[in-house]
Symmetry: C2
């Protein structure tokens, strides 16, 4: 059975929370086996659990806050705009991509593609 909109919303909210304040393992646990991550879109997709853990491990030690700005669900897919603010001490770095995800029947993420470019990184 396809995941409900509520299942998808929960996974997206957990994802943003895990990316902002959780461990790499917390994030990777939201992915289904065999999931792929293309971040940003246009780069070589990551296709192994190890490469996903490596990817999210980079941001694990950072002090971050995440916020879901917009979520649109269509079938077993979702597109969402969210903000991730990293506290760098004297500066803050904000990035607010649009991510597209697909989900399996259990609401786990089967693919993620992140739309953003350097111009979307704002320091303040």
């Amino acid at each position: 059975m396809a995941p409900s909109a509520e299942d998808i919303r929960k996974t997206v909210e957990r994802y943003i929370e895990a990316v902002a304040t959780g461990t790499a393992d917390d994030v990777v646990a939201l992915y289904a086996e065999g999931a792929t991550v293309e971040d940003p879109v246009g780069t070589e997709p990551r296709t192994s659990v190890e490469s996903l853990r490596e990817f999210y491990g980079v941001i694990e030690p950072l002090k971050q806050t995440g916020e879901l700005l917009t979520l649109k669900i269509a079938g077993n897919s979702a597109a969402f705009h969210f903000s991730l603010v990293t506290d760098l001490g004297e500066q803050k770095l904000e990035i607010a991509p649009i991510d597209v995800m697909t989900f399996d029947d259990d609401g786990k993420i089967t693919s993620m593609r992140a739309f953003w470019s350097q111009e979307d990184m704002i320091t303040s």
Copy 2:
């Protein structure tokens, strides 16, 4: 040569303007030959010029205003959140999907996928 971010932004802005206030032909002219449209995501993609013209022809007579809310560009792809408000006389119908598009070297749209569901249609 890949389209520049500026080329992509222009096409997206023209697309929203054409969808809101132009003719079906205005919209279809922004698509490359062989382009596909999946709206909403999860439905059968439209793959012929005739089916695109039919699709946009439905909204051609409506009195609409469009607004680009967020645009994220990555390589030759873009994801954007926009609002389309239809004036129904006594009521207004607003829908604000996230669309994902790919572009060819000339900045023409090669594919469009729209993320939204019934819950995203708001009357006021």
